[in-house]
Symmetry: C2
């Protein structure tokens, strides 16, 4: 890394980032040969222990692993081959995970080799792969995106798929198989680890926690990578909008933020920018709020600000909100069934009105009434094609438009009743794709590199069925602690499509957690005032308190634990 690496056709910042050297946790400074495995207690799954144990006879109850300085007992003389795959949506830092794995392997033995399966787990099934050489890697260090090997959403689940994966892993003579993904992909890694052991294979299967949504975390995983960078990008934009709002003083901006289900992103962006309203899906669910109640809540804030002469503001709407509203969840679930049950009948219809009428005729009277009450655009969006798992694609539903359209009606009513005399002009935004492939922040660049390096050390120590774990993340990177957490330890049993399935528990926003409590403590003040904060764009050079700070969510969560 001492020499300066250059590529053609790139921006000035990109060129600089190629030569950024991530900070490695202190214990890894002398390479994998100087890292010792320390075994912790044997573990059990977070819930449903008996069932999970039965499903994972070979990988249940593994001990936690932490790494400490000392002579490694791993045999580094024999060269190994490892393969990595990226699974699911993009998150900033994926390339650094791969760089960390590569550097860890090469440091242990320059003859070790790393391969990447292409386009996600589908590439494992089709045996499409390429070698990640140091020269190839040099063009991707500290960059955003997954374009080095791409990603995909295929799962390796059926007996045929598992058999195919076994065949290709054996064909490639891989000693380790590293899966970079979210909760579902890591559940899948656990299944593969179990299957490989059952089949007598020696290949280590290791997971790496990735997702901008921030919902893959637990007692042992402080955060998933990409959440830091993505929320910083969204915060830059929301902060800019807050400043615009306070300068123009004539619009309400409604910003929908990506995040498949949990509202972590909206919460973190809320902390960083302090807008007037931050909706949290988990709260809506807990309070069993109806759409009408949410509108009442929004209208109350808008009317109160208007009474102070402020016909402007900023509201954050988590993408997943719609599925947390009990009546909407029920409607979406019923629509999923109707669309699946009458696929061929619906295909023959030509207009959306015809389809809508047909669908409504199949709904219960209560849901039919709700469906009819929705703005036409939203009703159409709810009937769009489902994803491969039969779920509605929430990113396609313009919840912010639904809320604004309903607010117009509500405020017109209030105006008639003499309770609202202001103006309400709304501008809407959706931020998602903008943040998934940003240049990773220094935090994510360091974190991902450490996660990858750590995964390599786990592989060299023949640990299988583990998730790469890097902890104490609010401390400087050199003080981070590394190790492995058994994948089975994070699992519970959930019913999916009528079947009991072991899955890694998705972390929703905890209403008793410190981050949400911080919001509750401050939001009334934010609603009334313009306490806006303007984070600005991610900085990579300059004072450490600007460039290296981590998320507020993590700070609040970890502060409590001290």
């Amino acid at each position: 890394m001492a020499k300066t690496y250059k590529i053609k056709n790139c921006s000035e910042l990109q060129a600089e980032r190629l030569n950024f050297k991530p900070t490695l946790p202190e214990m890894f400074k002398n390479g994998p040969a100087s890292v010792k495995v320390k075994l912790g207690k044997t573990t059990k799954s977070v819930a449903d222990q008996a069932t999970v144990k039965k499903m994972f006879p070979h990988t249940y109850g593994l001990p936690e692993i932490s790494f400490v300085k000392g002579k490694s007992s791993a045999d580094t003389k024999k060269a190994i081959k490892a393969a990595v795959v990226l699974s699911g949506g993009q998150a900033p830092g994926g390339h650094n995970v791969i760089a960390g794995i590569l550097d860890g392997l090469k440091k242990a033995n320059p003859k070790n080799r790393l391969f990447g399966f292409l386009k996600g787990p589908g590439g494992v099934l089709e045996n499409k792969l390429k070698e990640i050489t140091p020269t190839l890697m040099a063009q991707y260090r500290n960059t955003g995106g997954f374009d080095l090997i791409q990603s995909g959403r295929t799962k390796i689940e059926t007996p045929e798929q598992l058999g195919q994966a076994k065949e290709n892993i054996l064909k490639g003579k891989f000693d380790a198989f590293i899966v970079v993904g979210g909760d579902d992909s890591n559940t899948n890694a656990g299944v593969i680890a179990e299957y490989f052991k059952q089949e007598g294979m020696h290949t280590s299967v290791i997971g790496v926690p990735k997702t901008i949504d921030g919902d893959l975390k637990n007692e042992h995983i402080e955060t998933s990578f990409g959440f830091d960078t993505a929320t910083k990008i969204y915060s830059e934009l929301v902060g800019n909008i807050c400043r615009d709002v306070n300068s123009a003083q004539k619009y309400w901006h409604f910003v929908r933020l990506m995040g498949r289900s949990a509202s972590h992103i909206a919460l973190e962006v809320g902390f960083k920018t302090q807008p007037n309203i931050v909706l949290i899906g988990e709260e809506v669910l807990a309070k069993k709020m109806t759409l009408a109640q949410i509108i009442d809540y929004l209208a109350k804030t808008i009317v109160a600000r208007s009474a102070d002469g402020k016909n402007f503001g900023v509201a954050l709407v988590p993408e997943g909100l719609i599925e947390f509203i009990p009546e909407m969840k029920e409607l979406i679930s019923a629509l999923n069934d109707v669309l699946a049950d009458h696929e061929s009948a619906l295909e023959k219809m030509h207009t959306i009105e015809e389809k809508k009428e047909f669908v409504i005729s199949k709904l219960s009277p209560k849901l039919a009434k709700l469906m009819k009450s929705l703005p036409a655009g939203i009703a159409s969006q709810l009937m769009l094609d489902r994803d491969p798992h039969g779920n509605v694609q929430v990113s396609l539903i313009e919840t912010e438009k639904l809320l604004v359209e309903m607010l117009h009606h509500k405020l017109a009513e209030l105006r008639k009743a003499g309770k609202f005399k202001g103006k309400f002009s709304a501008i809407m935004h959706f931020f998602g794709y903008e943040g998934r492939c940003g240049i990773p922040s220094n935090f994510d660049a360091n974190y991902c590199y450490a996660l990858g390096y750590n995964a390599a050390v786990l592989a060299l120590n023949k640990c299988s069925g583990y998730l790469s774990s890097v902890k104490k993340l609010v401390k400087p990177a050199k003080n981070w602690e590394c190790g492995g957490i058994p994948l089975t330890m994070m699992m519970n049993i959930e019913r999916r499509k009528g079947k009991e399935k072991p899955v890694i528990k998705k972390a929703l926003v905890e209403l008793k957690g410190e981050p949400f409590k911080y919001l509750v403590k401050n939001r009334d003040n934010w609603a009334k005032t313009e306490s806006y904060i303007f984070p600005g764009p991610i900085q990579y050079f300059g004072p450490a308190h600007v460039t290296d700070m981590t998320t507020k969510t993590l700070q609040y969560e970890q502060a409590k634990k001290k």
Copy 2:
């Protein structure tokens, strides 16, 4: 500025930026007392000289002014009072213009005072203002937004308004009145300068060129402030999307970019990110392209990429495109008339369908046919309320949706004909508000500070009817050249609402200019390949080639002049 200034409730970067010290052009290093006015040749307007001269008897033909080092002939012993107003949409750097004015005035004489009229020219008419003290200013240095004094879109045009402005300027005993705005606002500044001289007032009226759209430039004004920062912000986002597209390889992203009329923003963002398609409104107009021809052009690229196995790409759509399509321009103009002529009849109608039917009945057969052929959503948007000038609000028209919807039809046709076998999934974005209030780039922070300081020097030298001019912007800030350009020099006569009006000529993208020629030379290659560049977020610290570079547009334009 030596002491560190802090404010509560702000981000880490914000805190750092408050203490950034802009680089002042060398000639201003020793303050206004050491700057001498050098008069250039007398000037004439860019066109319609006789008419403009007749309309501006007191301010026509003023000489160009450049500043050089030397003993000033201005009397700095007598303290002066100046007032500033921000006019029109936000642009990054407005606060630094004010800081530059303040510092220039105070350096000349600590007793000089600066006031800001509030909420734009409306504040001048209502005499709402506040003093900009150094303490107040310290909270806004190098920040985005116009929230220090806000802005507004009122114009000071009618005899009553001009009289009111005179009264309040005299009441405040202002020696200088500085208008920060775009082409229209600076035209207005020229009118006020002329009026004040005609009324025997000694108050200098000075303009400052502001607009993110980049369309206020000419032989003497290299660029307007804010264009650099806004295009850098949009380029960050578009670059991130390009990386996402190349990672996921399954979507076409259509990105609409703000810019009221001219396509400079789309062009600059195109240079910085090299997407597959960059539409330029001025080219569409010059080639008299119909909507159908634009769709053909887009479809051709999509089909060609698909044939190479690439069902993905990125297309940039300038917000103003719709008004450059001759048939759409005609339709919009006819709609403007119908909406104005039948306002009360339309107000009584309750549904959009009813209104649409009524409007169509008033159009010519050709335009009625076009209106009927448009997707319902777009047709509705075209009938939305007009701005105070009776113009359609292009930012509310989702041109990207129009194009995508029509592309779906076109590609379905091509598929039937066996000419398209690929997939076409589109995701749409609109970026505008995100960029108007970003933290100004180092370039804009320096440029705005110099523009403001220069405006103060013009004011101290009693120059009226001038636009603050800072040139040689591709050189380092210390080498920039400063002076004043007569506002009348940039004017020509245009017919607006049936009346001849003197206006500063709006700079559209020149099809014979170097920037557009660069696009033409490269776009076929960009269309076929993934030559994407990822600029990343604006950097404020670090190597100068990352932090201080200016726009590609300016580089190409100025390179030619060398």
